[in-house]
């Protein structure tokens, strides 16, 4: 029973590393969107590719992406309608290192990691 604790500590570190990697990939994508004025299709495709190569257990269907794809512009006054918003989620599949010990199934032993927010466009208003 005491073995659970070191195993769980290791699992927590693995999960945290996964979330950090996820945050970094999303960060790069949002900064690209800032300079493009929106999330372009190529940016979204690259985001999916980066996530799937960083996390081999992910398929395209596991990745939830809801981002601004219409052009947004830099304005003289703050206007939330000109913000480029993003909501990106991936599953973290293993919360507990020994789920069977607590009677949990694989589907119960996971949660969704989510990055959400907005960036302001740097593209000047035409």
């Amino acid at each position: 029973m005491l073995l659970i604790f070191p195993l769980q500590n290791v699992q927590d570190l693995i999960n945290q590393n996964r979330i950090n990697k996820f945050s970094n990939i999303v960060y790069v994508s949002t900064q690209t969107a800032r300079t493009d004025g929106r999330f372009t299709q190529s940016n979204i495709e690259r985001l999916k590719t980066d996530l799937m190569s960083a996390f081999p257990d992910l398929s395209e269907a596991d990745i939830y992406i809801d981002v601004t794809t219409t052009p947004k512009y830099r304005t003289d006054e703050f206007d939330s309608r000109e913000a480029i918003s993003y909501d990106i989620r991936i599953p973290v599949r293993k919360i507990l290192a020994a789920p069977r010990f607590f009677g949990l199934t694989d589907s119960e032993n996971q949660y969704i990691s989510r990055r959400t927010g907005f960036v302001l466009s740097e593209v000047p208003m035409p």
């Binding site: 005491l2 500590n9 703050f78 927010g117 907005f118 960036v119 302001l120």
Partner: protein, 163 residues
């Protein structure tokens, strides 16, 4: 009896260590996120300048608009209500406060060494810059004796650059 008592003692100690380690990992991540929030907020703060002054060769921040953007960015990323109290889904539990420092052509002789009075964060201001310091309050620690720790405060600066 002795093995049972020792076993229970080790179990309780392991629980304490696990609780601390788990909370520490969460806090470390939330603290790193807080730095990202400061970076994004400082970027948002540099986005608004007075166009008429820019036409005269001066970069002067429109602080009213900048503050609107900074506050919106902080509230969005930290999941806060309009009064800066956290939503239940947020990691943070205290009311969040922030400070914005604007250095531009109207009030700064470059170079200027900025030293944050709250964090000790230093930044050599060589061009118009916005510095944001966010105080997100105490971390979530489940062990009673670790509560009332130091506040989580992070700073970041962003310099206005001509594109």
């Amino acid at each position: 009896m002795k093995p049972f008592i020792v076993g229970m003692a080790i179990l309780i100690l392991s629980l304490f260590l696990y609780a601390f380690n788990s909370d520490l990992i969460l806090n470390r991540h939330a603290n790193a996120d807080l730095r990202t929030v400061c970076e994004e907020a400082s970027v948002a703060g540099t986005m608004f300048i007075y166009e008429d002054q820019y036409g005269n060769g001066n970069v002067i921040f429109n602080q009213d608009e900048s503050k609107k953007a900074i506050e919106a960015e902080i509230k969005s990323m930290l999941r806060l209500n309009d009064d800066f109290t956290p939503f239940p889904a947020s990691y943070w539990q205290d009311q969040v406060t922030y400070k914005a420092y604007f250095y531009d052509d109207s009030n700064t002789a470059y170079p200027y060494l900025f030293v944050d009075p709250d964090t000790g964060f230093t930044h050599l201001v060589k061009a118009p810059t916005v510095v944001i310091t966010v105080n997100a309050g105490e971390a979530r620690y489940s062990l009673q004796f670790l509560k009332n720790g130091a506040d989580n405060i992070r700073s970041a600066a962003h310099t206005w650059e001509e594109r």
